[in-house]
């Protein structure tokens, strides 16, 4: 187990370097960020040159990347054009987005798995067909349309929620945005659980358990569900990174000041330091979530052993 984890951690190094280099290059393709700082006029050449020097933009890209990574390892993620430390931005943005992600994941787990088990056990019945159709509809409508509609209906027409989220971004405010963010994944978790349950239902161990005379709920929870959860856990685990980075649309609609907001601002203002910094952390989250998922396999399926 220990050796496996170490091997996985070592494998993360090239992926981490590659992903940060990729995003670094991509942001660099966007070109000179200084021009946008001076409003509807040319920056005066002296100030522009000096700003470039201070942000290290006058150096070749590879050198900028090396300097940047060097700083990252000492905990310095650079400074945004607003004069704020990127770490400072992170310390306000990540807690908000983590809360949003938690809400989304709770939805995925509670609603998604419940519906999945239900439909998986009643395959082909009306409830199955209804849920199946619903999930397909959720998948086929773009998130921003769902988000704007819910905001208008719940926030303005019916007045059930506040249309936007306050800077404190408490859990209760994040319920609807979390649902919107989770919607597509929720549909997938449902379908995934359904497939998995339907398939394992016919397996020998379930038949044995039923034959042994175990109560139905015990069969479902202890035997069926536990074995059916592997693909679902995989999905949810890898979804964490996607939810955190993919919240750009949801955070924009509900005015949530989290990671998606900072990334969007960073891109619009071509703020290399912010974008690369946030993505670096997201890459780490993604890699660690993947590792945790793989370790969870061993818990769910005792046949899997890591050497």
């Amino acid at each position: 187990m220990g050796r496996y984890v170490i091997r996985r951690l070592l494998q993360m190094i090239p992926v981490f370097i590659g992903a940060t280099l990729l995003i670094f290059l991509m942001v660099n393709v966007m070109g000179d960020p200084i021009a946008g700082l001076c409003g509807e006029r040319q920056c005066d050449p002296a100030t522009a040159a000096q700003l470039k020097r201070e942000f290290g933009l006058d150096k070749p890209v590879w050198q900028q990347y090396l300097t940047y990574m060097g700083n990252v390892f000492t905990g310095d993620f650079g400074t945004a054009f607003t004069g704020q430390k990127v770490t400072e931005l992170m310390s306000t943005a990540f807690p908000v987005t983590i809360r949003l992600t938690v809400v989304a994941i709770v939805f995925e787990v509670v609603i998604g798995i419940t519906l999945g088990v239900l439909t998986g056990l009643k395959r082909g019945r009306p409830i199955d067909t209804t849920v199946l159709l619903l999930t397909l509809v959720v998948i086929s409508v773009p998130t921003f349309v769902t988000g704007l509609l819910l905001q208008l209906l719940l926030g303005v027409e019916w007045g059930w929620i506040k249309p936007s989220v306050s800077p404190e971004a408490t859990f209760s405010e994040l319920i609807v945005p979390g649902l919107v963010l989770a919607s597509v994944s929720l549909a997938y978790v449902t379908r995934l659980t359904r497939t998995s349950i339907a398939e394992n239902r016919r397996s020998d161990y379930v038949r044995t358990a039923v034959a042994k005379g175990l109560p139905r709920h015990r069969v479902i929870i202890r035997h069926l569900l536990r074995n059916s959860l592997i693909p679902v856990v995989t999905f949810i685990g890898t979804d964490i990174g996607a939810l955190m980075g993919g919240a750009i649309v949801t955070e924009r609609i509900f005015n949530i000041h989290g990671v998606g907001y900072q990334l969007y601002q960073g891109i619009v203002r071509q703020n290399t330091q912010t974008v690369v910094g946030f993505v670096t952390v997201l890459v780490l989250v993604f890699l660690i979530a993947n590792l945790l998922v793989d370790l969870l396999y061993a818990v769910l399926d005792p046949r899997i052993r890591y050497a």
């Binding site: 966007m30 960020p33 509807e40 006029r41 000096q50 619009v268 071509q270």
Partner: protein, 545 residues
């Protein structure tokens, strides 16, 4: 609950519309309509792009804060836009080149420090100095010694402007490099604000929580999300805050801000999104204001491109201008929050300030047949297609660019004659402009820095001026502007500027589209809401019940 306060604010709103001050109250906080002077209002805000230093803030969002936290020598009257003395007791000159400034005594920063002549001179030196990266440094460009402090290339050889001298606690002198008769009127701009000594001694702390001499102080500032400003009881000026404070909330999308206003989650939204303007009447009734602001939208042309800078191309430009149905677009897309432009300045200047209604004449009137004829006479559209470049990230420009293109296409009878060319980000848009990559007309919006006709002409059309993005150049124009700046008599100077504007018209240097209004909506808790000519809400006069 809504009904009870209805009549009150309706009366106040009507009064505002009549430019009266029935609800404003002069200096005391207890006069007029609703509001006990201690309630706090919440207002929409955008994340400022640069650190909140006065000489480093060049956009409206940062400007809002500076307007609440600072007072300069002059202040533009929120209604008329006239530059009036604020901290300045008097600004004397005999030759329009050397000025002696006397400031009123008794003014303080909110940390207790007195505002002296030195507060101004130090602040201006800081703003001008290259090493401080202040984006508005060029505002000090007329002051003697600027070329040493802020050379175009190389390193600076001085840190202070030789043209600025403190001559007493409350007096200092300014020496300019050239005659500039209206210079004192530019001093209301935020870049000329005074700064306390803590700004220099503990800069980082100051940036976290800026300290100024205005009617509000910042009580807390969470960067990127919100700023809480509270009324400063020790404020010296007469324009004290009529409310207990303002909480500015950052919104990424002004649609969300508007939605929040409707849901009662926010008190004040300035800049109502174009798509919601149709609902404003039914949503807000008279809690909606739409007042002229010193902003003009034009289409600029790339004069570095031979296709747009040959003989006859002024006919093409005029033709395109006549192909744009300004009335229809401002009515439909903007619901009258824009006014079709008939000159190259802004109505907020007033006729005596240089605004000339109808200067553009027929060239700005929709006339499809004449448009088609002129474009043909001018040799047709270069490349067969006009691409109007704009940035897609802010300001819902897509809607009007598409509408302008449809108008041109319909007028010229060719559905591919004009097409919008969105650029993903503002930064990239500015980059492409800076690198002279434009191949056709591009969006050019101009918000005045100070309400002077000079500000609408010189930065935009003078050879190599800072915002002359199309590189238009005309000797006659330059000569007239030089003459106007040297003219000590203001009305004569304005006449000369107007002559210069005539040169712009004759060449159709840029197509004027429309004058932009400031628009705002507010909740029924507020009264006496108004926008100043810079389209910024006059926060200190708002009353909260």
């Amino acid at each position: 609950m809504r009904g009870a306060t209805h009549a009150k604010w309706a009366a106040c709103a009507a009064a505002v519309a009549l430019a009266a001050t029935a609800c404003g109250g002069g200096g005391s906080s207890d006069s007029g309509g609703g509001g006990d002077g201690s309630s706090v209002l919440s207002a929409s805000w955008g994340d400022p792009q640069n650190p909140l230093e006065p000489a480093n803030t060049n956009e409206v969002q940062g400007g809002k804060v500076l307007d609440m936290v600072f007072r300069g020598l002059k202040r533009y009257d929120p209604k008329t836009g006239k530059a009036e003395d604020m901290l300045a007791d008097k600004i004397d000159t005999t030759d329009s080149q050397n000025f002696t400034v006397t400031i009123k005594s008794g003014w303080k920063f909110s940390n207790g420090e007195a505002v002296t002549a030195k507060s101004f001179v130090d602040a201006w030196n800081y703003g001008a100095s290259l090493k401080n990266n202040q984006k508005n440094a060029y505002f000090f460009g007329y002051i003697e010694g600027y070329d040493k402090v802020h050379p175009d290339s190389g390193s600076q050889s001085a840190t202070t402007l030789t043209g600025l001298k403190v001559t007493g606690t409350d007096t200092f002198t300014i020496k300019l490099t050239q005659k500039f008769s209206t210079f004192p009127d530019t001093l209301g701009y935020a870049a000329y604000s005074p700064l306390p000594s803590t700004f220099f001694s503990d800069h980082a702390a100051w940036l976290k929580k800026p300290v100024g001499n205005g009617p509000y102080t910042i009580s807390s500032y969470t960067k990127g999300s919100q700023m809480k400003l509270v009324k400063w009881d020790g404020y010296t000026g007469t324009d004290k805050a009529e409310n207990g404070g303002v909480t500015l909330k950052v919104y990424t999308d002004n649609n969300t801000a508007y939605t929040d206003l409707m849901a009662g989650n926010l008190d004040l939204v300035d800049d109502i999104p174009a798509s919601q303007l149709k609902n404003v009447k039914s949503d807000l009734g008279s809690r909606y204001i739409n007042t002229p602001a010193g902003i003009i939208q034009t289409l600029a042309f790339p004069y570095y491109d031979k296709n747009w800078n040959k003989s006859g191309s002024e006919k093409v430009r005029t033709g395109l201008s006549m192909a744009i149905n300004r009335d229809q677009i401002t009515n439909t897309i903007f619901q009258k929050t824009r006014t079709p432009a008939t000159d190259w300045t802004s109505p907020v200047l007033g006729t005596e300030g240089g605004f000339q209604d109808g200067l553009c004449g027929d060239a700005c009137k929709y006339n499809p047949t004449e448009a088609k004829k002129l474009v043909q006479e001018g040799g047709g559209i270069p490349g067969g297609q006009v691409k109007i470049t704009y940035n897609a990230d802010t300001g819902s420009h897509k809607e009007w660019v598409d509408a302008v293109c449809n108008s041109i296409n319909n007028a010229l009878g060719n559905d591919k004659a004009c097409v919008g060319n969105p650029v993903g980000t503002f930064a990239d848009f500015r980059n492409q402009i800076g690198q002279h990559k434009m191949t056709g007309p591009f969006r050019a919006g101009w918000q005045m820095d100070y309400p002077l006709i000079q500000n609408f002409l010189q930065p935009l059309y003078y050879t190599n001026a800072s915002s002359n993005d199309g590189q238009w150049s005309n000797k006659d124009f330059d000569k007239l502007v030089d003459q106007a700046n040297a003219e000590t008599d203001t009305s004569k100077a304005i006449k000369l500027f107007q002559q210069a504007e005539g040169v712009v018209r004759d060449n159709m240097a840029a197509i004027p589209l429309w004058y932009q209004n400031g628009s705002a909506g507010y909740s029924d808790r507020l009264s006496n809401v108004a926008l100043n000519p810079f389209s910024v809400p006059v926060y200190n006069e708002i009353k909260v019940s």
